[in-house]
């Protein structure tokens, strides 16, 4: 297969966009529906990546591929989900400030552990040896196939979230976020609901982290900074926290615009790439966020429209 037409940079940029869309969709369930402000996205994402990496590279597997790979992926997902359960249990009944500090603190703890637990994670040097579970020829071909797999995973997440909006579970999440005491008085176990939502969301974030780890081959502490969380949050808020398409649109407009258009196609000086661009990115994101929140407080797509949804789903 001739893949000369495919720019490696473009492929990588698109991979990032789709991956962040996945994170933003999961965050949408937490923040947009249940109103839990999870600022620790990167923490769960990193736990998934490292748990996958540790099991995959440190264990002397006696069974053949693809089992070690798949088992490690599952392991990363489950460990991230368990971390979500623990963090969820700590923050589920806190006020918004507590949730913010708690989740942010959790991500920081993960970053510190990754740096200090050198034996497991390789510390600052990083953890290598993460390779594709297949080899179909050129690097680019392998990357394209892996991108395809990510696309399917994020597509599945999108479909799940879309269905949740049209299911009693989604209604429950909205009720919990909207008026928790009232939901409780109707017999809804709100604490448990938030806990499981956190666990499921975190597991999904962990899976995306592991998938991303395989794409980049090398896990380093610099890779798990707050910028990952910010990309998901800014994209989601910009597009509209309460809308399914908000995550997609917002992330394309922010991460897509910056990581693909600006970085690949604008003639920026080479020397900018390591120092200036990451800072520029945060600045542009911040500015975009402020402008949108001033002009359209609910994001570009606006607030949830349950009346429309109910009319279309329960047409008599």
């Amino acid at each position: 297969m001739n893949l000369d037409w495919l720019d490696a940079f473009l492929l990588f940029g698109t991979f990032q966009v789709v991956m962040v869309i996945g994170l933003a969709l999961l965050l949408h369930l937490q923040l947009g529906l249940a109103r839990i402000a999870n600022f620790g996205v990167v923490g769960f994402w990193a736990i998934g990546a490292y748990a996958f990496g540790v099991l995959f590279t440190k264990v002397d597997w006696s069974i053949g591929e693809p089992w070690p790979f798949l088992i490690s992926m599952l392991f990363g997902t489950v460990v991230a989900g368990l971390a979500g359960l623990l963090v969820g249990w700590l923050i589920a009944d806190l006020e918004i400030e507590g949730v913010l500090v708690g989740t942010l603190g959790f991500a920081t703890v993960v970053a510190i552990l990754v740096t200090t637990e050198r034996g497991l994670t390789g510390g600052a040097l990083g953890m290598g040896g993460l390779s594709f579970p297949f080899d179909i020829g050129k690097t680019k071909a392998n990357e394209l196939l892996w991108f395809g797999i990510l696309f399917v995973v994020v597509g599945a997440i999108f479909y799940y979230v879309w269905r949740v909006h049209r299911s009693p579970y989604g209604r429950l999440l909205i009720a919990v976020g909207d008026n928790e005491p009232l939901a409780r008085s109707l017999g809804k176990p709100t604490f448990q609901t938030k806990l499981w939502l956190f666990a499921i969301g975190s597991a999904g974030m962990g899976l995306l982290g592991a998938i991303n780890g395989v794409m980049v081959h090398l896990l380093i502490p610099e890779g798990i900074g707050i910028n990952v969380t910010l990309a998901a949050i800014v994209g989601l808020v910009l597009g509209g926290t309460a809308r399914v398409w908000g995550a997609v649109l917002g992330v394309i407009l922010t991460v897509g615009f910056f990581d693909i258009v600006v970085q690949s196609y604008l003639p920026l000086p080479r020397s900018w790439y390591t120092q200036a661009i990451p800072v520029l990115r945060e600045m542009v994101f911040g500015a975009a966020l402020i402008i949108v929140l001033l002009v359209r407080p609910f994001g570009i797509l606006g607030d949830m429209r349950r009346d429309k949804l109910i009319r279309s789903t329960h047409r008599d």
Partner: protein, 266 residues
């Protein structure tokens, strides 16, 4: 009209409150030695503002934590009464036990339509698990009829939209409670803010529920409602039930007149 008092004998659930004390910021608001609710099908609970009526109801729901004391639900047939200590359970367990309370102050889900609210109330836990992403149709199938009955009965203007007026929100709150199929229903000023014809309808629904075996306790300042619907009335003042009896007796009682009704009421 349904003759509630002479309806076929059913074992009604009762709520027993023992040594229950609640204070806010050091001030005792409710202090009840012993009280049993649910002896009669519909019991009125009246008393001046700040007497502690709402707080007492919230203590029963365990949405207000007791300083000390105990609230117990007794239900089941005479020879095999089951007792559940409500004050040991979290609030969200009450609905499952059939203990339900409507709200004095308007409570609503801003983001949910009227239909949403009703379906939320009707949905059992099995429909609401995270993996049940196709359970809206079965839920609708199983319960839409019930919801529609109430929507028609109370003639909501546009049930696919949001509750608009304060009255509509208040009514929606009551309908949500009714859809939970309460066995013990606590109503905190259910008709405040409702137009007369809706007040009548709410009363009719409550009478029907009571005739089917639900115990109802109703707090109201509209005393015409209390005198007409209650089989028994509790008079509460300063955190305590100081009198109970048939509506007529309470109405003419000196203390009640002095503390609450004012002279010239009778």
């Amino acid at each position: 009209m349904i003759d509630v008092a002479n309806a076929p004998t059913v074992t009604r659930p009762q709520i027993r409150i023992e040594g229950a004390v609640k204070s806010f910021a050091g001030r005792v608001v409710v202090d009840i030695d012993e009280l049993v609710l649910g002896d009669s099908p519909i019991e009125g609970l009246i008393g001046p503002n700040g007497a502690g009526k709402t707080t007492l109801m919230r203590m029963i729901m365990h949405s207000a934590k007791l300083d000390r004391g105990k609230v117990t639900l007794r239900r089941g047939p005479e020879e095999d009464v089951e007792e559940v200590v409500l004050s040991d359970l979290p609030t969200h367990r009450m609905a499952g036990l059939g203990v339900v309370k409507s709200n004095q102050v308007i409570m609503d889900f801003e983001k949910l339509t009227i239909w949403d609210s009703l379906l939320l109330s009707l949905a059992a836990a099995k429909y609401e698990h995270p993996h049940r992403i196709f359970s809206e149709a079965p839920l609708f199938e199983a319960h839409a009829e019930e919801a529609r009955e109430y929507l028609d009965f109370f003639s909501f203007a546009d049930p696919t939209g949001f509750a608009q007026s304060a009255g509509e929100k208040k009514l929606l709150d009551i309908v949500r409670c009714l859809l939970l199929k309460p066995r013990f229903l606590l109503l905190d000023e259910p008709t405040a803010g409702l137009p007369d014809e809706l007040t009548e309808k709410v009363m009719e629904a409550i009478r029907r529920l009571a005739s089917e075996g639900t115990s109802v306790v109703i707090v109201e300042h509209d005393l015409n409602v209390i005198w007409s619907i209650s089989d028994e009335v509790h008079f509460m003042a300063e955190g305590n039930i100081i009198l109970r009896g048939p509506p007529q007796t309470i109405r003419e009682n000196r203390t009640v007149v002095e503390k609450y009704l004012g002279e010239g009421h009778v």
